[in-house]
């Protein structure tokens, strides 16, 4: 089954992973801007990183027939540095018209501080000014519920935010209902220890249904499994779910959400045509 991974950090993975993803049925990925494992020092560091997302990664992905899309921001962890964050936010528009740039993300909260909230709000303003979709990171572990509620408060405070253009990612059992009930898209991340398993994601699909729900691997430089979405496909099949439900979550929903962006130039595999 063709699938799309809507949240994976390929800049931190080797090229062999693109080959593995292609062999497992991945036809497209979306890569949000994230924390590199250290705090960057200058806006030029971010400019170079964005060039890597926009120019380099699509070429690496294309070697294996995978279409690469990306999101831009300064992530929640580095948002604690307000002055640097404002420089990065001012620089982002340089890239918004580039092919494959889908919107602003992954913005959010990390430890739910005042500075993080200020920069989250300034990213929202940027997205509104340039009519961009938004991809949101919710905090890890004990910070997730509090941070998700704060994020939803900030989103709901602004009536200009179009909820059909907002994906709230890394939802788990105690946050998924809050996100879906308010009309946003929700992403379940299949990541060891700090997030969800394929079995728990399948449980949530069974409880809440497939509408406005996506799943991703968030594969990055930490211990993670970039092939986690196929694991969920396998689990749902094992439970006897229809191919149509599975395809909706792992393929049709990402296409529907990403189609909010004018730079989403995805081409589906043609019937009967051999691709990679």
């Amino acid at each position: 089954m063709d699938y799309i991974d809507p949240h994976i950090h390929m800049v931190s993975r080797i090229t062999d992973d693109y080959e593995t993803l292609a062999r497992m049925g991945c036809v497209a990925i979306s890569e949000p801007a994230f924390w590199a494992g250290f705090d960057r020092g200058t806006v030029d560091g971010f400019r170079d990183y964005f060039r890597q997302l926009v120019d380099v990664e699509p070429k690496r992905a294309a070697q294996y027939g995978i279409q690469h899309f990306c999101w831009l921001c300064i992530n929640a962890k580095e948002a604690e540095n307000v002055s640097l964050s404002r420089e990065v936010i001012a620089m982002i528009p340089e890239f918004l018209d580039r092919p494959g740039v889908l919107g602003i993300g992954e913005i959010g909260l990390n430890k739910n501080t005042r500075n993080e909230a200020i920069i989250f709000l300034e990213h929202l303003q940027l997205a509104i000014n340039y009519d961009q979709p938004i991809l949101i990171h919710t905090p890890h572990l004990e910070d997730k519920y509090q941070g998700t509620r704060m994020i939803l408060d900030m989103l709901e405070d602004d009536s200009r935010i179009d909820r059909s253009k907002v994906l709230v990612d890394h939802v788990e059992e105690h946050t998924i209902g809050e996100v879906l009930d308010r009309g946003f898209w929700a992403g379940m991340t299949l990541y060891p220890i700090t997030k969800c398993t394929p079995a728990r994601a399948a449980d949530m699909i069974e409880k809440f249904g497939p509408e406005r729900l996506m799943t991703n691997s968030a594969g990055d430089w930490g211990p993670s499994k970039p092939t986690a979405v196929p694991d969920l496909i396998f689990e749902l099949r094992r439970r006897g779910h229809d191919e149509s439900l599975i395809r909706k979550v792992v393929y049709e929903n990402p296409i529907e959400f990403f189609s909010n962006s004018r730079n989403f130039n995805f081409k589906a595999r043609e019937e009967g045509k051999t691709a990679v």
Partner: protein, 84 residues
């Protein structure tokens, strides 16, 4: 949809393994040489979590309740505290 027995049969060994892991971790803490955990609030939360697992529920919401147990509380007045 599989029956409860089918699901239980499939998951029994995994549950057993994870419960033994928890037991072994608690034993390892007890055997450790230095000090005690009596003041660490997280230790009490582990016991509460075990209570949640063994309590009756009609909502199939144990996972959600455990998540809430291990979460920082949400304060509806957070914006006033931040001056936002």
């Amino acid at each position: 949809m599989p029956s409860p027995k089918q699901i239980f049969d499939e998951s029994f060994l995994t549950m057993r393994s994870k419960l033994i892991d928890i037991a072994a971790n608690l034993d390892r803490i007890d055997r450790a040489a230095d000090g005690e955990l009596s003041d660490d609030p997280r230790r009490a939360r582990i016991d509460e979590a075990i209570d949640i697992l063994s309590a009756e529920t009609s909502d199939a919401d144990r996972a959600k309740r455990l998540q809430q147990l291990f979460s920082r509380p949400y304060d509806v007045k957070w914006r006033r505290e931040f001056g936002l």
